[in-house]
């Protein structure tokens, strides 16, 4: 076995050269990573920029997460309870959910139109306040089958109206006014008008009662 000092020295130097080559490759890789991922720090006096969500937690496990789309509050059970921001559909939105995580109340812009909705515990829409396509305000109450039962709105001609509907969602009563006079109309389940009080289309004012066949039973004056 050759174990002269010169031979040992040659072997050690050889290992050193190999190590330096390896280190050089590693250093080059680090440089590439740094340049690929480095970000300049923002102007600290104006804003703090985070490239990932900012999360604030407490001991119970509840958390608030501020991300690029908004603020999300999660309770200690891990259920999302509040969201304020721009939702997954790109709508500015405020959402509140119950302890089971079910959405119960939401205020948002639907197709850029303001909308406020309340949902029951099984997720049915029961109350809605919004601007319609004509930008008129409306309040709608629906039953547990999501059938419209009561509405406050403006008609196509712009008249304000209170309307009541049956469980078939058909109109039963409307109380409205135009610029001449108000009127109250009551209809039966078939849609026949049975009572009218107030202004008639000819401009007169009065009231009448009809049967289901539309025969006038009484009229005044």
């Amino acid at each position: 076995m050759d174990s002269s000092p010169s031979t040992d020295l040659v072997a050690r130097v050889g290992r050193l050269e190999s190590s330096i080559k390896r280190n050089r490759v590693l250093a080059l890789a680090v440089v590439l990573i740094v340049f690929a991922t480095a970000q300049t720090s923002g102007p600290a006096t104006l804003a703090t920029t985070y490239s990932s969500p900012l999360i604030v937690r407490d001991a119970s496990g509840a958390s608030a997460t501020l991300s690029s789309t908004g603020l999300t509050i999660v309770d200690a059970a891990g259920k999302e309870r509040t969201f304020v921001g721009v939702d997954s559909g790109g709508r500015p939105s405020l959402d509140q959910s119950d302890a089971s995580g079910r959405l119960r109340q939401s205020m948002y812009l639907l197709n850029d139109t303001p909308e406020f909705r309340q949902f029951d515990s099984v997720g049915k829409r029961r109350l809605e306040m919004s601007l319609n396509s004509a930008n008129d305000g409306q309040l709608l109450l629906s039953d547990q089958n999501e059938k419209l039962r009561l509405a406050l709105f403006r008609t196509a001609s712009g008249d304000p109206q209170l309307a009541l509907y049956g469980s078939d969602e058909k109109l039963r009563a409307d109380f409205s006014t135009d610029d001449v006079s108000p009127h109250l109309v009551m209809k039966d389940a078939t849609g026949a008008t049975r009572i009218t009080a107030g202004g008639y289309k000819d401009g007169s004012i009065g009231m009448d009662i009809r049967n289901a066949a539309d025969t006038v039973l009484w009229k005044a004056p």
């Binding site: 969500p53 109250l184 009551m186």
Partner: protein, 212 residues
């Protein structure tokens, strides 16, 4: 042979010094540009300006103007998801929250009285819209009655109903009451599907009715 080795070792020493310098440079570059990992905090994050501050804690976001809370969005102190808007005096004026899990939106006057609200009733999930007077007495309501029928009702300052318009699946009806609670005028559906109207005295006796 020794001379050759000596040259090689000298070169290696130069290389090592150069790479050490590079390593130090890289370290400095990393420190200057490096980004912290996803920031997680157990304490609140507070952003202040000369006029206001915003505090983000695990319950939500609070915006204050000096010492007054103007806006809160999150989970309130009793665990309700809530959006609260307060006026320049720090009084709560509008609140949108879940009360016992049920949604409600309330508006308050400057004296802190509830003046308008929309909500879903806790037992039925039926929607209601209410307007109150300055004494917080209900004066107008849109709602589903106990039997699920939609109703519009007007109330006196004694909170007693004076007028109501409602409907079932048959026909609607309108009633007007006096301050004693007696029905004085009825219009709409009568039993048997008949339509009509009548005027009564305070004892409930019909004074006039149609059709005969």
């Amino acid at each position: 042979m020794d001379g050759l080795l000596s040259d090689r070792i000298a070169r290696l020493e130069n290389v090592a010094r150069r790479e050490r310098a590079i390593a130090i440079g890289l370290l400095a570059l990393l420190m200057a540009t490096g980004q912290a990992p996803a920031p997680t905090s157990s304490g609140p994050v507070i952003i202040t300006s000369s006029t206001s501050s915003a505090t983000l804690d695990s319950r939500g976001l609070t915006v204050r103007d000096h010492s007054r809370e103007l806006l809160f969005a999150g989970m309130d102190s009793s665990g309700k998801p809530s959006l609260d808007l307060s006026d320049s005096a720090g009084r709560l004026r509008e609140s949108m929250y879940l009360l016992a899990g049920n949604p409600i939106l309330r508006d308050f006057d400057a004296a802190g009285k509830r003046r308008a609200e929309v909500f879903l009733a806790g037992d039925s999930g039926n929607g209601e819209f209410l307007i109150f007077d300055a004494a917080e007495v209900r004066r107008l309501a849109l709602f589903h009655g106990s039997s699920g029928l939609p109703e519009f009702a007007l109330y006196g300052s004694d909170a007693k109903v004076r007028a109501y318009l409602s409907t079932d699946d048959g026909m609607p009806y309108l009633g007007m009451n006096d301050n004693g609670g007696a029905t004085r005028l009825v219009m709409g559906a009568y039993t048997g599907g008949r339509a009509g109207m009548d005027v009564r005295d305070s004892a409930g006796k019909a004074l006039w009715s149609q059709p005969k």
